[in-house]
């Protein structure tokens, strides 16, 4: 790595791109490495941010918290609402609906996960209602209520997590204020040249007005344009479009209807993809993610305009992408984060999460010496791990369907699967077990939600679930459902919960 220390002997970091990923990176580096590095961020006001990553996962809360940003302040600034999961409509079959919750289904009985007992009741035709009535977050979401999980030993009241739905165009400015107050220097400019040194590393970048900026480490947050990492190697992309064929999105906001705001994101399957609906305090975010091989951009725009509930606040904006990831997100002295690193469609709200994980990995593995191969290899190993696990989960949403009403759904239903997903499906189909991992983004409850929600019924279940007496099981399940209803009845409505926290500011 080239030596480009600033006047104070600090390592110099240059972030290229000031969207959500860029300012998240600047905020984290300036918070956690402030005495060791100096940070500059180049962005151009002429280049808009993609800014459709409005739905998040619960992990974002830890990021906000570690930065020391007040939750209520964050919610006011970004017009955020709470999110308890994602409702999927028409995915397994037209007319189907299920919620992938941020939380568990029931509680284990005699050490056996709850869903096995539910499957037993299905087999025996014992009425016990849908699985979702044993999930606190789903029942909360369906009833439009919300409460922060309690840490008082009540297992049900702590059986879920929550995330936010927020206005992504307001997230970057908020983090910009934070990062600048922590020492990040913002530079207005458009990059038109990248200079590399003899070793192949990037030595400096030049802006259109002729200014030159050097650094020790460059962070590419330039989005799909990949201004830096794209220069480093040409054979550095692993393409997954054969599994995830959607390559466009038509996005637009619309006005919000009066009344309660749903504390969940909705994904509705369409003829050639799916559309999102993200309710914020002041508006609703919408978008149609589609395969351009199966529907034209004009038709997609017309379809999303016909589908939205409120008045459109803008014309549909077309975004182009390709599913996949960099083979190496960190190459030489360039680390790519966000869309420059890879893209997985926002079906499970993973875009910001993947950027967040990469940022925290970078903080954790920030190069200590000029030879950073050890850190670089480990960073790439961990980024690959995250992407690959998310990929399989997304593919499942498409493949696990009985839909045959369009070429798109016929394609994804019959396409060959990655071996890693094939083994997961086999295990589930055999006896309702979920491949186990100690850590990761989507653990057992997430997979169970999608498998059962999309009609992938296993042939059997854990044999131990047969050992509990019928009366005892029915009574235990009834008690559990009653206890969940009781807790939810005591919770405030979603808007009241936001107001109670001090996070309500729906002004435009």
């Amino acid at each position: 790595m080239a030596e480009a220390q600033d006047d104070n002997g600090k390592m110099k970091v240059l972030i290229v791109g000031g969207g959500t990923a860029g300012w998240m990176t600047a905020a984290a580096l300036s918070r956690f490495l402030k005495n060791r590095i100096s940070i500059q961020l180049i962005e151009s006001e002429e280049i808009g941010i993609v800014g459709v990553g409005e739905a998040t996962l619960p992990h974002l809360r830890a990021f906000i918290e570690r930065l020391g940003i007040d939750e209520a302040e964050f919610m006011r600034a970004t017009k955020a609402t709470f999110k308890l999961g994602i409702e999927f409509r028409d995915f397994g079959a037209i007319g189907d609906s299920y919620i992938h919750p941020f939380g568990d289904f029931g509680t284990p009985l005699a050490g056996v996960p709850f869903h096995h007992y539910w499957l037993r009741q299905q087999r025996d035709a014992v009425p016990c209602g849908p699985l979702e009535q044993y999930s606190v977050p789903i029942m909360m979401a369906r009833s439009g209520r919300f409460a922060i999980p309690r840490q008082d030993g009540d297992a049900l009241a702590n059986s879920y997590g929550y995330a936010y739905q927020f206005d992504a165009t307001r997230m970057a400015p908020m983090l910009r204020r934070y990062a600048e107050s922590h020492g990040t220097e913002r530079i207005e400019g458009r990059i038109n040249r990248v200079n590399r040194d003899a070793s192949g590393n990037i030595a400096a970048v030049e802006t259109e007005d002729g200014r030159r900026f050097d650094a020790d480490l460059f962070v590419d947050c330039s989005g799909f344009r990949s201004l830096l990492i794209g220069e480093m190697a040409h054979d550095n992309w692993e393409d997954w479009s054969h599994w995830l064929p959607c390559d466009r999105a038509a996005a637009l906001p619309c006005t919000a209807p009066d009344g309660e705001i749903e504390p969940f994101t909705r994904a509705t399957a369409m003829e050639a993809g799916w559309r999102w609906r993200i309710p914020l305090q002041h508006r609703i975010g919408n978008g149609y993610v589609f395969s351009s091989n199966h529907v034209s951009e004009d038709k997609a725009c017309a379809d999303i305009l016909a589908a939205i509930e409120g008045e459109p606040l803008a014309d549909p904006r077309i975004l182009k992408f390709r599913a996949g990831r960099r083979k190496r997100s960190w190459l030489g002295n360039v680390v790519s984060i966000g869309l420059a690193s890879g893209f997985l469609e926002p079906l499970e709200s993973t875009s910001i999460h993947l950027a967040q994980m990469a940022i925290m990995r970078l903080v954790e593995l920030f190069p200590m010496t000029h030879d950073s191969a050890v850190d670089r290899d480990e960073f790439n190993r961990l980024v690959d791990y995250e992407y690959d696990r998310v990929r399989d989960f997304l593919i499942l949403h498409y493949h696990a369907t009985s839909r045959s009403d369009s070429d798109f759904w016929n394609h994804v239903r019959t396409m060959p699967l990655p071996d890693s997903l094939h083994s997961k499906l086999s295990l589930w189909r055999s006896s309702a077990r979920v491949e186990h991992y100690g850590e990761g983004l989507f653990l057992a409850p997430s997979w169970i939600a999608v498998y059962l929600g999309q009609g992938v019924m296993p042939e059997a279940f854990d044999p131990r679930a047969s050992l509990v007496g019928s009366d005892r099981l029915q009574s235990a399940m009834g008690d559990l459902h009653g206890a969940i209803q009781q807790r939810i009845a005591a919770m405030p409505g979603h808007i009241d919960a936001i107001k109670s926290l001090g996070g309500w500011d729906p002004s435009q």
């Binding site: 490495l33 954790e364 050890v374 480990e378 055999s430 491949e435 042939e459 050992l467």
Partner: protein, 367 residues
């Protein structure tokens, strides 16, 4: 049709055999479970040691912890005195989680100091112990023969038949558990004991001695850590030493057997002949055993395999323990043992730079 194993044969005469038989009988009460105790195996050849995981296991099989403690004269090992021949002994105090101060891991703060200013790591570890660390220590040390006797009584109560026969015939059972111990080069002595709250380990010249309050095991040759790639094959499930031979002087081997049998129960095929659950068991178990083999190699000073090389590389570079899914040895345990036994990273993590020297001094002054 959903079915579970109706007949289970367990080969073996030691702790792993009885633990497996009892756990299976508890999970499937209507199953007929028989132990075939042909091997001339005695519990006392093995360390009477377990990690805190033993409490969880006992809850699963319904063994009251107070009964266990009383019958086996169980003690908590609050420290380990570890010595390599030719070197001074070091004390290792248990630390189940690495504490953070101002968002920075405490061991990184320690690493940021130059060698002269650093307090002894073992004192730092002791100073930052949690209530859990003080209560659970390195785990439980007990009389292995008394434990075996207790388990035998429990098995009899559960109507687990014990036969003095040769191995069970695999075709006669739905499931065969091979829990036989392998021949050991170790010798047991009840004469050598330590004070109540400590383990003492001496390693060198290809030999090792581990001593606790109940006695000592001496190894006349460095045992090679080994484990099976497919511990579950067909209707034969290998548990304990039949699946993995490691000795880490801390009860990891016994607790691995406990965790393995619980994992096997949780993945018991619901249909005869189903291989997918067995494949999942082997995937997870192989990975866990490989990580325990790393732990074994580290404790013995063996040449490291790929997993341990990667871990040591990361740690020596900047004091970081890489993420290892389902590693029975936590990142805090790895870091604590590495630092206690003299591994000092080349660099402290960059996150320390957010602290002033005054903050660092104040934090470490609390030790």
């Amino acid at each position: 049709m959903i079915r579970f194993p109706e007949t289970v044969g367990v080969n073996g005469n030691g702790l792993a055999a009885y633990l497996s038989a009892i756990a299976v009988k508890r999970a499937f009460p209507t199953a007929e479970v028989r132990i075939f105790a042909a091997a001339n195996e005695t519990a006392a050849e093995f360390a009477g040691a377990a990690t805190p995981f033993i409490r969880y296991f006992h809850r699963q099989i319904g063994l009251d912890e107070r009964v266990f403690s009383k019958r086996t004269n169980a003690h908590i090992a609050h420290r380990c005195v570890w010595q390599r021949v030719g070197s001074d002994p070091v004390e290792v105090h248990p630390l189940s989680t690495i504490p953070y101060r101002e968002g920075v891991a405490i061991h990184q703060i320690w690493c940021s100091l130059d060698a002269v200013r650093r307090p002894e790591w073992s004192k730092v570890a002791r100073g930052f112990q949690t209530d859990f660390d003080r209560a659970e220590g390195h785990g439980t040390r007990f009389d292995p023969n008394a434990y075996l006797q207790l388990l035998a009584e429990m098995a009899a109560h559960l109507k687990i038949e014990v036969r003095r026969e040769e191995q069970a015939e695999p075709s006669a059972f739905d499931l065969i558990i091979d829990a036989r111990a392998t021949v050991s080069d170790s010798t047991w002595s009840a004469d050598t004991v330590t004070s109540g709250d400590s383990d003492h380990v001496l390693i060198g010249n290809g030999k090792a001695t581990w001593a606790s309050v109940h006695g000592a095991v001496q190894f006349d040759a460095v045992p090679n850590g080994r484990f099976s790639a497919s511990p579950w094959s067909g209707n034969c499930l290998r548990i304990g030493q039949a699946a993995m031979a490691i000795e880490t002087f801390d009860g990891q081997a016994l607790c691995a057997a406990m965790a393995d049998i619980l994992r096997a129960i949780s993945l018991m095929p619901a249909k005869p002949g189903s291989q997918t659950e067995i494949a999942e068991y082997n995937r997870r178990t192989h990975s866990i055993h490989a990580m325990l083999a790393d732990w074994h190699a580290f404790k013995w000073g063996d040449s490291p395999g790929q997993g341990l090389r990667h871990l040591l590389q990361q740690f020596e570079h900047r004091g970081r323990i890489p993420f290892r899914d389902e590693d029975p040895v936590s990142a805090a345990e790895w870091a604590n043992w590495l630092l206690s036994t003299g591994f000092v990273p080349a660099h402290a993590d960059a996150s320390v730079s957010s602290l002033s020297s005054t903050q660092i001094s104040d934090i470490l002054r609390t030790v």
